[in-house]
Symmetry: D4
Subunit: 253 residues, 8 copies
């Protein structure tokens, strides 16, 4: 309940144009409300852009193309930016029926549709990856960060097995405002980058590697145990999540 | 051995119409018996409805359609309610050959056939889910609870990332007799619901999520460690099991 | 904010004895408030008895005796029942300085102090344990359930290695309203009891056993995978938690 | 080197028909030898029947049909019993080209070909299973035990959720010389059977179950932690291995 | 209820000296009974020697000396053999108060008291250990097997790092009727022994080793995955359990 | 090699006051150097304050008091701020011998010594904790963040079991620039806070809880799987690490 | 920057043909450089052959055929030896378009193209495998070691279940300079071989086996815990990695 | 049986001074023998120095001081070098009673006694460690490598958080023949060193670190997944094992 509405209601009570019982019920109800839209199978959280700075993001995995398309239509219809992650060509075809200008990034597995004018981009988020096999996750981070209004740069294939490739780019590392490190195998890249820069480093472990990688556990544990400070970690293969908090940090004034 | 049968046998001994040796053998045998039906590949437990309040449920996974159909025919033939979980269209086609009025719920992956008149439904079991990807498990819980004779309500897509969606439904939470919380990712919904209500909460972790969800382990551990009291947990993705104990609780007089 | 207070405030506005701005501020504040007491190091939740049917319970582990005593004094001072778990003689001595009639149950590692008259006890919670080594956890459950106003009975040392000990008590199993099964090692007792009764079974795995018990993991997984329905699980060694949800269930009218 | 060969060689040295250097080399070589056949990709251990009472068994998984057929031909050609596990129709077709009387058991996924006359069967190995979904593993045990020359009986679908089904067969349990218990989910059946009988129990955990079964880990840990004595465990889903040690035990004179 | 008692009761009914109702109650009660003794904190299973060939064994860990002594007195008082495992000097002192001729084996951590005449020992159980650090577990196995009436021999410190130590004892390996292999670290000894003999091998993993032994998990998994057949496994550090099933096997006629 | 030094050297070459070979060697050496001090057992990284904005922090665990004191003396001697974590009274006594104005925070287990004038504190880092048992870790975060030049506020004991305690402080949550959430048990607090605010949230799982907490794994997995975006995670019990990256973020201009 | 270039530059400064500022910039840049080639999606490390004795190896998994072909063309174009692991027929077809003399080893899943004259092969690397199912990994090791310029021999199917097969080859084991042991199941082969020889043993666990092999974890832990010294371990199924370090060792002069 | 002995025996047979039966028995016995000494609780493997280049090493953990002293006396009595790992002052005192010139290295927890003249030391093993807390393990490696006759150098406290400390020592890294990397936390040091050098790298993970290090698992997995080739891994905290294989490699001619 917005402040003006509250004041207006109380004025009505004071003036006698609204009785106490009705006003009481209205206030009791207001204590429970916030804007969302109930689609039966989903509750779209239109309030999130105000509360968190970016609208609700659609996690595509486990949803049918039809469900994704319906949710997408509501989000775009509410004038908000659309971002669907972990999705594919089939879902994209369904979304296009509803939102014909939506774009699909196959490597990143992301559908987006921005609204209004191009945002004023701030700072620079540098997405660093260890090897070619980490690209899908790194691209999910890149597209997410771009849609959320950041300057984004890529620094790919700089794994620590050939350290000079990374050290050669030290200037770009030092100039970034926030760094997202995407790496599989032993994930040492996060520690090494963390030791070279003063920017916050968000580490995204990937499930790339031989057997004892255990689906990303090796990289995850490595990053959590980083001997360099200034490193925090998100979920395995979660390029979206890494970019989202990087964007939050980058937009701090 | 039913009490009357025992009395009758002893009366026969007393009257001398049955000799002691025969009676002794009959009694020794009776000490080992209980009603079930041996199909060779399965022993259908017809006694279960008396012992536990609901007939044996068929776990479809790992059984052939033919096996499911045969078991289903026996259960329905014995005048009992049929419930097959973790099943599919193919098995349903086979069951229809034997039990033509059986119903299939594709999202819940459940086949049912009720018998006799509609049961008197008691209490309310509220099935709460975190997100759209939890629907299959939540629907398994809903159909199970309905077949077992409970009032069932759904409260879906109220994950804690948008807490106001949950708080807006606080009245429904407070009015439920038993709550089944179905959630993946970090499973925090169980703790939050558990802290808001006085009803018992049965938590069902799901295997939905990014990498370090580890097939539901994250949600499972989260729910087992709930800082709110009044929460107990069933197996990962086990919507049936969650509903079954919720029904048992709800039917306590 | 209680309904009468809200009505009273609105009445004052209507009568002009309270100006709109002040009333607005009061209402805005009320939207955020609920009764708790801030001790600096802890926020005692005095509202919990109303919301959940039992006051906040103090988890003793990791708190100093002085902290426990201070919290205990506030809870008893608010006229509520005291329950401290995972505690010891030293903390008890400190609590006695503040609450001289508090009682200590050494095997259960619990301190309690009840208030007012003896509660009307309802139903029967039967606490079943597998072996002597499970006693500490079983006793935590027994004391918790007793303090929470239930009839409580013990059925100890009936592990499945000597099944006749359990079957001999089948009548007591059948008469219980809720059953708490406390078992370590392979935890099979939960499944066996679950298959024999129609009451809800709350399973509490314990960390008792040889090496591959892994601190209770074997029993935990066993109970989560119970082939009998009607079984739900709480955390390892969490006798308190098992009794708490059993009490919640037992108090359903 | 057989005793007679050694004596013969020494006699030749004594008689001077063999010089010392040649004899020395022969003996040195003999210290390293034992009969096996090198196929390039495999070394068939023809000595195993003498050393261990049953010829080498072919683990089909990861071998091509052609490799299986070649090994099978050598084993049968050496007059030994053939047993191929974890195999399928395709491999069977290849084996039939070489060994036309070989038999295939599809549920057990086993190919066999016995040689010579029917063996004198000893004792009784009782294969007990928890549920229909454990059949494939149980059948692998049954066929293995049969081929190895044991009397074999089945007692299927007697999981502890309906304990009377098991107790009704107590006499068969008591009459078996060795018992193989095949069970998934929580694997409690091994403990319960172990507590009822004096025969040795070999427990075979299966990977059947809902999420937190973790591919058989729940049943495995449960069985390792059996509170009943007289229970030992083999690998998950290893019906062959369970039957093999049961046969070894059953053949002890 | 013994057969004679049943016959006697039925005779009384036939003769009219016992009325049907009373007889019915007596029979109904008998269906639930088996001999055990309820000490309050424990139910001593006096029936176990008949059912399983050896009386109930007392697992000392987690029991007070007083509890152990009380149980010990009852077992010895019932004329049965006493075996307490995982115990210590303090418990032994308490047991001595009740059973003054009890013996304590400190390395094995076992208290025993045999009754009657020396049993006729059968077969030979050979307890094989990998290294000096496995002695406590191996000795638990040796003492257990001895008390249970087996010939027992030791073959210690024959780990596979020096294979000739094991091969030098091949004759003893071949002459044993059952072999218990106790090994930590990588537990390879079980596979190697299993490949050399035709006797059944019971493998006992121990928690001995450097970091990634993980408290015995390395040896446990190694033994479960033995490429040699004829190997089954018991719990980590469970020398008692290994010897118990070995004894069961050894006593098969 | 600082720019001026490089220019100076080249000038000398140009002027002929330095020969080419010597200059070449000097440059080759410079390519490998950076300022650190070799104490034999440790290499103090005096360069870190320039590179990362804060001097090297001493991780006290596993170091002797004498080693800590020596390192501390060098850091303070170099005019840098001292921060020793995971330390105790004994190490503090040793440090006091070298740095007599050092301060010790026993709950946080931290020794510090700041240098020069009070820093201009920026922004606000809010440290939120779930329960009293999380205090040690939360205090480590608070002291670390304070020493690093941030405004720090505490919001303790607001676990989700009593959600109103957290919601009552919503304004403080919304006003923080960065939030550090310290929570054990199921760690749901991170998700709930993450869903309420737009600030970046750094989650610190703690090892507080009953058995299946597994030393903090439950909270760690929960936080990594947060359904709210804007959450990144550091190591279990790593209050220092959480504060360090929070400070890095807070100091972004 | 090569020494001659550095000297030349300094000479120019001395002669005045290059000004100090330009020279300063050139040197500063040189401090960051090393030869690699940026393909956008990959940075080919042409420097690796000089630094590590063998050019960059292409890990095929997760790369498209087109990416592999492009990288392959650059490596061959730079006159270096090509080695692509974890690849298949499809990628090979793409590589053939660029490098028409490349060879494909289907069992090893490796593509190679050597350059120049046949290398002088040194020492002998003996690749030992436990069973037929380990062939793919063993062949990856064999091809890798061959391409890297070693004498390579195979000793396959000598698992410890038939120890005489291994002991019969003791002379070959003793003659190898480095041994690579490839084994699944319980991985005991590494310990047994390690105990027989004085050569360094590189152990490669494979993911071959029944359930509790856990994708190679059983063999991995077994090998890490080898009671024989002189054994070190690489990742599960990593035949390439095992051969690579074996080659490094074998080339030590 | 040495070649001369074999020839001599055969000569005796040829000459008729030894009968065939006796010669046959002698040869049969010889096939089973190899030199070791049976102390009852241990079999000292005096043959190992010949077979593996270094005598049996005593793993002190789990052995009593008296056992260690007895074994030590036998090893030294046989003229061999003594090495006891994982030991302490108490065991050292016992050993001193038997071997008065033995030396104790407290940080390494190692007792040694060398024999004869100083060995000719070869090559250089460089032991590199990440941080001060890794010293105990690194020192175990240093002392082991020294006793085994290698040149040994230390490069300590060069963790990747301050990469310049490592890069400054690049020349020493490049000059080592074998490198042992000892690191805890995320263990990234192994990958970084592995990428810089052409020497074989033996990685020793340590159990140093915050919670999610999990007793060294994080570093272990990191090292197994090293993206640099030429890295192999030994057990957690196993400085001895790392040095032993490094010595084996270093002594290859």
């Amino acid at each position: 309940m917005k402040p003006e509405a509250l004041t207006s209601l109380l004025e009505q009570v004071r003036l006698g144009t609204l009785d106490v019982a009705t006003a009481g019920n209205t206030l009791a109800d207001a204590m429970r409300q916030a804007p969302f839209e109930d689609l039966g199978f989903a509750r779209v959280d239109h309030h999130r852009a105000i509360r968190q700075g970016f609208p609700e993001v659609v996690f595509g995995q486990g949803k049918t193309p039809a469900q994704i398309a319906t949710i997408a239509a509501r989000i775009v219809g509410a004038g908000q930016t659309l971002l669907v992650t972990r999705t594919d060509e089939t879902a994209y075809a369904a979304v296009r029926q509803e939102v014909d200008s939506a774009k699909f990034y196959p490597e990143a597995r992301v559908i987006t549709q921005t609204t209004g004018s191009e945002p004023t981009r701030v700072g620079t988020i540098l997405v660093v990856s260890g090897g070619t096999a980490d690209h899908a996750v790194a691209e999910e981070a890149v597209v997410t960060a771009h849609v959320m209004g950041n300057h984004v740069e890529r620094l790919y294939d700089v794994g620590v097995a050939g350290l000079h490739r990374l050290l050669a780019e030290r200037r770009r590392l030092e100039q970034a405002r926030v760094i997202v490190v995407v790496a599989g195998m032993e994930g040492a890249l996060a520690s090494v980058v963390g030791g070279l820069v003063s920017a916050p480093v968000i580490a995204v472990p990937t499930s790339v590697g031989y057997g004892a990688n255990f689906g990303g556990v090796a990289a995850l544990l490595s990053m959590l145990n980083s001997c360099a400070t200034g490193v925090a970690v998100v979920n395995i293969d979660n390029g979206f999540g890494g970019a989202a908090i990087a964007s939050t940090i980058n937009h701090l004034s």
